[in-house]
């Protein structure tokens, strides 16, 4: 088997992979290899033809392909090596990546550092356990997006969407503009999982009803979907008997959450966080396997690609420093998700520097305080007018706070503002 050596392997050529590689390049690393399984750099952005990307990072509104092109053009200009149509098959604990492509066959890459940037996948139909037949016409929203935006096929004409995540909302508009009738978007929770702007411009603009606290409980049709039964759910998300409603449709799109794609990570024995389904990382996004970093949606599902790029730049810079062996003496602070907080990234901090902690809350709440505790002592807090699980929150920790907390566990909580 052919073996190549390189300083840095980046697995995934989407926004995270490209941003990480560019950040490592900016730190002086030249021996880089990006592995991308699709036929071009850009990742999922290539099929996200709608606009709204890049406001944070570039100060202008770009479409997905345009955002991806910004990084891809730089990668090409700087001659950062990348391989497309190349699939990473495994990662070993001694940082050896096995990959395959039609032109190179199976080959090995020995690296000094590895950045995991494989992104995430949509929760599939099989994970939802909907009763009834298994007819054609049931797609994840992202699959439908690929059909419509990259292949030019329409998956169907009469559509119901389950889940109000942003991809589902975007596809409701896209299918409508392409001539389909979107009958309803059903959302299990009492609030939408998507951005308010997308409810406005993707549903309200086209009079598409958003049915909160509703789910699809049965698929009808043998060869092709003919309709779905939807039902209201109670506060425990259980379908309410008697609330059944039949909607004839030939297509059901699922937008029911994203799951980080961590097969390689798991196989390498890297510790995962049960809540994020991504690796447990420190402030540099280094995983439990020294020299392996994770960033973007493979680490935690983000709301905006701008934040993916930002996180990936942290990982890329840190990987470069790891390769150059510039480690400062470590501290050890654990971060704990307390009341009202689902998870934090990073989960541990090993260096006393300015660290931004990203986290999600468990519930929609108004007039709250985000507070950081060492036991019963509140170290700092900030007010928030409102918080929602669909919007990632941040808390900045100073080097002083971290130095003081060496060896301890700090807890982030959501408190009612008195």
């Amino acid at each position: 088997m052919k073996t190549v050596t390189t300083d840095l392997v980046v697995i995934g050529g989407g926004p995270a992979g490209m941003s990480a590689a560019l950040a490592a390049y900016d730190q002086g690393i030249r021996d880089i290899l990006i592995l991308e399984r699709d036929n071009a750099l850009g990742g999922i952005l290539r099929q996200c033809i709608h606009n709204g990307f890049g406001l944070h990072r570039f100060g202008e509104e770009l479409t997905g392909p345009e955002y991806a092109a910004r990084d891809a053009i730089r990668v090409k200009e700087l001659s950062i090596p990348y391989m497309t149509d190349t699939m990473a098959l495994s990662l070993s604990p001694d940082l050896e990546v096995r990959a395959t492509s039609q032109t190179n066959g199976i080959f090995k890459i020995k690296a000094k550092a590895v950045i995991l940037a494989m992104g995430c996948r949509e929760r599939p139909a099989g994970a939802l356990g909907i009763a009834g037949n298994r007819p054609a016409g049931v797609y994840s929203a992202g699959t439908a997006q690929k059909f419509v935006n990259m292949k030019g096929y329409m998956p169907g004409r009469d559509v119901v969407i389950l889940g109000s995540g942003d991809i589902g909302l975007i596809m409701a508009r896209r299918m409508t503009l392409e001539g389909a009738k979107v009958h309803a978007v059903c959302e299990l929770m009492p609030y939408s999982g998507g951005l308010a702007r997308n409810i406005e411009q993707c549903l309200n603009d086209f009079d598409i009803p958003l049915l909160l606290s509703h789910t699809v409980t049965r698929l009808h049709g043998k060869k092709r979907l003919e309709g779905v039964t939807i039902q209201k759910v109670d506060e425990n998300r259980r379908p309410i008997s008697g609330s059944e409603q039949y909607i004839p449709c030939d297509t059901l799109l699922l937008s029911c959450g994203l799951i980080p794609e961590n097969e390689l990570t798991t196989e390498a024995g890297i510790a995962l966080d049960r809540v994020t389904s991504g690796a447990i990382v420190d402030q540099d996004r280094m995983t439990s396997l020294s020299g392996v970093f994770a960033c973007g949606n493979v680490l935690q599902v983000h709301d905006l690609v701008d934040f993916v790029s930002e996180e990936a730049a942290i990982a890329g810079k840190a990987a470069a420093n790891f390769i150059k062996n510039q480690k400062t003496p470590p501290i050890s602070v654990s971060l704990n998700a307390g009341d009202g907080v689902r998870y934090t990234v990073p989960q541990i901090v090993t260096e006393a520097k300015d660290v931004t902690v990203y986290f999600r809350v468990t519930d929609v709440q108004k007039d709250v305080r985000i507070a950081l505790y060492d036991g019963d002592t509140c170290l700092l807090s900030k007010k928030k007018i409102s918080v929602a699980p669909g919007e990632m929150e941040t808390l900045s920790l100073s080097p002083e706070v971290l130095k003081e907390a060496n060896g301890k566990t700090l807890t982030i909580k959501i408190e009612r503002k008195d």
Binding site: R46, I49, A69, L177, E178, L195, R197
Partner: protein
């Protein structure tokens, strides 16, 4: 003079400010709830002449699909007419990112441009 209010969700950025517009005889006189000036501009436009940027795809002569957008916002009521016209565009490759595919879409003064390269 008739005074009315209208609740709007701003679509300018992912923050999605919840805004209240006060109108006198259908003319916006004040906007609140917006965090930045772009929200006010959006709210005023939304109450008088709502506009949207359209993104879609076209099929090139060789059959490949290419993403496109309007390089500015067009009146909301023209979205479906615009889709009909955009769907009829079939230029030959190569097309470069940013290249104008159609000028002055439906007399809006806005062009249809490519948002990716096709070599």
């Amino acid at each position: 003079m008739e005074k009315t209010t209208r609740a709007l969700t701003c679509i300018v950025c992912p923050r999605g400010c919840q805004m209240q517009v006060t109108l006198e005889d259908g003319v916006p006189v004040s906007v609140c709830g917006n965090i930045c000036p772009r929200g006010k501009t959006y709210a005023e436009a939304e109450c008088t002449h709502p506009v949207r940027t359209l993104t879609s795809t076209i099929r090139l002569q060789d059959g490949r699909i290419l993403p496109v957008k309007t390089n500015g916002a067009i009146p909301k009521h023209l979205l479906f007419d615009a889709m009909d016209i955009v769907g009829g565009l079939h230029p030959a490759a190569p097309v470069a990112l940013g290249q104008v595919i159609l000028q002055n879409l439906l007399d809006t003064g806005v062009d249809v441009v490519a948002t990716a390269d096709a070599e």
